[in-house]
């Protein structure tokens, strides 16, 4: 097989063809992802991709890597388990906004608190696509869908504000229509030594007429170059802008969970001695 240095973006394509609708933002998301993997020279057999359920959660099927397509909403704890079991692997969780912020929302603050070195890509289209058009937790109030025929009554989640609020150590937003920047964000996120979150604005031309390339293109704005990514309050303020900002909101130094676990092991050895199971059992006499 090709050595890592020679890996081209196309080498990361699997034998399976994407099953997304024509015009889906996830194609752009996936292509930028191939580019980032190629740039980072990640060997496919050392890459683990974890997802849940939804249109975008199918992404691992289309990538030449070790892939895990689990149940709805559990990508994060699964990815954490993979990373803790084998820290040598590059571990990336991917999915949609429903998988992440609705059924899986309970796992987010805790994954953030532990800060394992994994990257979380959320393809954000503000609608449920696989089940053919119902509101998502980040759909705007008033949005008309199959379950909200008179318009949604609920306020949307702001994924970026939420992540900064929880204390994630890397928070960014990308846009499927800007693949070059998106690729750069992936590279930065994967290189970040801790939990890295990227919200990717990914249009759904089939079920969300409010969120297409046509509607997004005039709205998205690059984060100002003078923004201090270590300033959490400024990052939070930026996340509240009505026009979606794209780029890195927040990034601070972090010690990944697996490193702290390694230190804990050393501490236990220091306190309790080299592991000797027979001696441990014998201590119960």
């Amino acid at each position: 097989m090709a050595t890592a240095a020679k890996m081209k973006p196309t080498d990361y394509k699997s034998m399976r063809e994407p099953i997304w609708c024509p015009g889906c933002g996830d194609f752009g998301t996936l292509n930028a992802f191939y580019q980032a993997l190629s740039e980072l020279e990640i060997e496919p057999h050392r890459l683990a991709l974890i997802s849940g359920i939804g249109c975008s959660s199918r992404l691992p099927y289309f990538v030449n890597a070790y892939c895990y397509h689990g149940v709805h909403g559990r990508a994060l704890p699964t990815a954490m388990g993979v990373k803790l079991a084998n820290p040598e692997l590059t571990v990336i969780a991917a999915g949609g906004d429903g998988d992440a912020f609705s059924i899986g929302a309970g796992h987010i603050p805790h994954t953030v608190r532990r800060n394992p070195n994994i990257t979380y890509i959320v393809m954000d289209n503000q609608v449920y696509g696989l089940t053919k058009g119902q509101i998502a937790p980040n759909s705007p109030t008033g949005m008309v869908t199959g379950t909200t025929p008179m318009g949604s009554l609920e306020a949307p989640i702001n994924p970026v504000s939420m992540m900064i609020g929880f204390g994630a150590t890397f928070v960014a937003r990308g846009y499927a229509g800007n693949p070059k920047q998106l690729k750069d964000l992936y590279v930065k996120a994967i290189q970040h030594p801790g939990f890295a979150f990227i919200d990717v604005l990914s249009p759904c031309p089939t079920f969300n007429v409010n969120m297409t390339y046509q509607t997004l293109r005039p709205q998205v704005v690059d984060i100002p170059e003078d923004h201090d990514v270590t300033d959490r309050a400024a990052a939070f303020a930026l996340s509240l802008h009505s026009a979606p900002q794209i780029g890195v909101f927040y990034q601070v130094d972090s010690v990944p969970y697996e490193k702290r676990i390694r230190d804990l092991r050393a501490k236990q050895v220091e306190y309790g001695g080299q592991p000797d199971l027979q001696a441990l059992i014998h201590s119960y006499r």
């Binding site: 030449n64 699964t78 993979v82 079991a85 084998n86 441990l280």
Partner: protein
């Protein structure tokens, strides 16, 4: 109850050292060569109040706890009031006269004052050493050697400094002396022939709880990842693993919920590590969806379910064997899984280790159905010899198999080699969608049939691999009665059968360790190739779950001997059912 066994109960205010007295006494008795079994009953609410510790000790092996006590040590009036009626005729109650007033009480048993507070103050200035006085006293009453108890205390308090140790030893010795006077030099138990009192020739035994044994069994089998969410009565498995597993190079995570716990275990297993979670009924239900994912992805994982009284929040600190049906059938869609049920603390160690081997060998989830009575009780068990524990690992692909690798290759055994992430050439997708041999989604009827057959074939392979250990059974010659039980009821059933034998009633006994899939050939032999005319199914639930399971597979109409009162069977209750069944033959 055999003549050579005694039941001791200690009661007092929470925080007075009731539990530590009991624990140290049980360890000292074990080191002296006795068998012990202890049982703790907790209130569900978090507050001080009455604490109690009960133990049975014997110079023979013990299989069940009894309900009548020979000795009660009451630290205070509340304990005396609550427990004096549980002392058997001819038993003895020891009480602290500075705490208890017997005036106006009707007490059947003999009463002996033991000035715990006074003696403790005399030797330590405060009454904090009263539990050590009680320990010394009871050690003498039980006929234990002072040196064994003193050595144990020395080990325990060495880290706390010379001064604290000296006070505790003084209290212990003073209590022992008072005990000598009270027992008139007569020990309640004869000295056992094979004392382990730290000596070199003694048998090696340990005193351990079911939950601790479960944790150590897992480590012995190679478990290096545990994730869990606190729940009574399983939490101490997570705690024991937290205390020890990192030192063995492992990882323990207290997760945000049971779903995250099992999800992360599956992630760890996918990455090649042996993983486990531990929970109780409510948590097992939350894990239901992921359990089916594990079976579909064919990932090895061990789920310990320490059953408690249900349904819903139920009786969270009490005994019940009522998760069996959910463990066997709790799935949307049809999935193979294996269920094992330890019958004793010793089996908590060994069956947990075997559960890992089964999970690895057949690449599926294995549920270990422990329960509250096993979780909290401590028993004297032979010290497990780590070098004798067989450790199995999942089948990995050969170099040849990695060319055109198929993760879910349809094989004669149903087991396909699994490549661990990091393996060149082993790239595959593990998914919950129905898939073909490559792991690609495939929804055709023929493929679904084929993959269902492949997954369930592993259980057929397991049945062919069945070894002696999968069930314990004894067919007694000419016995017209047979008892089938599962899990922690085994000891009580055995004692009941012995009681029946003394009355001339013969009873055979079948007790599977693998509950599902059932060891059917063995059970058929038990039922059909024996003189058994009537079967009693003994279990601690309300609806007879195992009995239903058996009736679905065998043409039997068993007598259901059920108990769902939050406490384990007393052997005499099973004995009564035997006598009745014998009369009805």
């Amino acid at each position: 109850m055999s003549d050579s066994s005694v039941m001791i109960r200690i009661g007092g205010e929470g925080g007075e050292g009731v539990i530590s007295t009991g624990e140290l006494l049980s360890k000292a008795a074990s080191r002296a060569g006795h068998s012990i079994m202890t049982y703790r009953i907790f209130p569900a609410e978090i507050k001080g109040g009455l604490a109690q510790f009960q133990m049975r000790l014997s110079d023979r092996s013990i299989r069940a706890i009894a309900t009548e006590f020979d000795h009660l040590m009451a630290f205070n009036q509340e304990a005396l009031d609550a427990f004096h009626e549980t002392v058997a005729d001819g038993g003895c109650i020891y009480y602290d006269p500075s705490e208890c007033d017997l005036e106006g009480m009707e007490i059947r048993a003999e009463t002996i004052p033991v000035p715990l507070n006074e003696i403790a103050k005399e030797h330590g200035g405060t009454n904090r050493g009263k539990n050590m006085v009680a320990l010394g006293f009871l050690a003498r009453i039980a006929g234990l050697d002072l040196s064994v108890t003193r050595d144990l205390l020395t080990e325990k308090f060495r880290r706390k400094g010379e001064k604290i140790l000296a006070v505790n030893i003084a209290c212990l010795e003073a209590g022992y002396e008072v005990g000598a006077e009270s027992s008139n030099g007569r020990a309640v138990l004869p000295s056992p022939p094979n004392g382990d009192g730290g000596g070199e020739n003694g048998r090696r035994t340990i005193v351990i709880s079911g939950n601790e044994a479960t944790a150590l069994g897992a480590i012995a089998a190679g478990c290096r990842y545990m994730a869990g969410y606190p729940i009574t009565p399983a939490s101490s498995i997570l705690e024991t693993m937290s205390r020890h597993l990192p030192r063995f190079g492992g990882t323990v995570v207290q997760c945000e919920d049971e779903i995250a716990a099992l999800a992360s275990c599956l992630g760890a297993s996918y990455a090649g590590q042996k993983a486990m979670t531990a929970t109780s009924g409510p948590g097992l239900m939350l894990m239901g969806e992921l359990m089916t994912l594990a079976s579909t992805q064919e990932l090895p994982v061990v789920v310990i379910d320490v059953q408690r009284g249900g349904p819903s929040t139920g009786l969270p600190t009490k005994q019940e064997q009522s998760d069996l049906k959910f463990a066997i059938y709790g799935s949307a869609g049809e999935v193979p899984r294996i269920i094992v049920a330890p019958a004793s603390v010793e089996e908590c160690f060994h069956l947990t280790a075997r559960a890992f081997n089964l999970a690895e060998r057949y690449q599926l989830p294995v549920i270990v159905l422990s329960d509250t009575s096993l979780a909290f009780r401590t028993e004297t068990i032979p010290e497990p010899d780590v070098s004798q524990i067989v450790v199995e690992n999942r089948l990995q692909p050969t170099k040849a198999e990695l060319v055109g690798y198929q993760r879910y290759r349809d094989t004669p055994t149903g087991v396909s080699p699994v490549a661990i992430p990091g393996t060149v050439g082993g790239i595959h997708i593990a998914g919950g969608l129905e898939h073909d041999e490559n792991g690609s989604p495939c929804y055709t009827g023929s493929n679904h049939n084929r993959m269902n057959a492949k997954r369930f074939r592993k259980l057929e392979t397991l049945r062919e691999d069945f070894d002696e250990w999968v069930a314990d059974f004894e067919i007694v010659e000419d016995a017209a009665l047979g008892i089938i039980g599962w899990g922690s009821t085994k000891g009580a059933i055995q004692e009941a059968i012995e009681m029946a034998a003394e009355r001339g009633i013969r009873v055979s006994h079948f007790h599977p360790r693998i509950v599902s899939p059932l060891p059917e050939k063995r059970l058929r032999r038990f039922l059909e190739e024996s003189p058994i005319r009537k079967v009693l199914v003994v279990e601690e639930n309300f609806t007879g779950q195992f009995s239903h399971f058996l009736k679905a597979k065998f043409d039997i109409r068993p007598v259901e001997v059920l108990k769902a009162e939050g406490v384990p069977f007393n052997p005499s209750e099973i004995f009564d059912a035997i006598v009745k069944a014998e009369a009805d033959l």
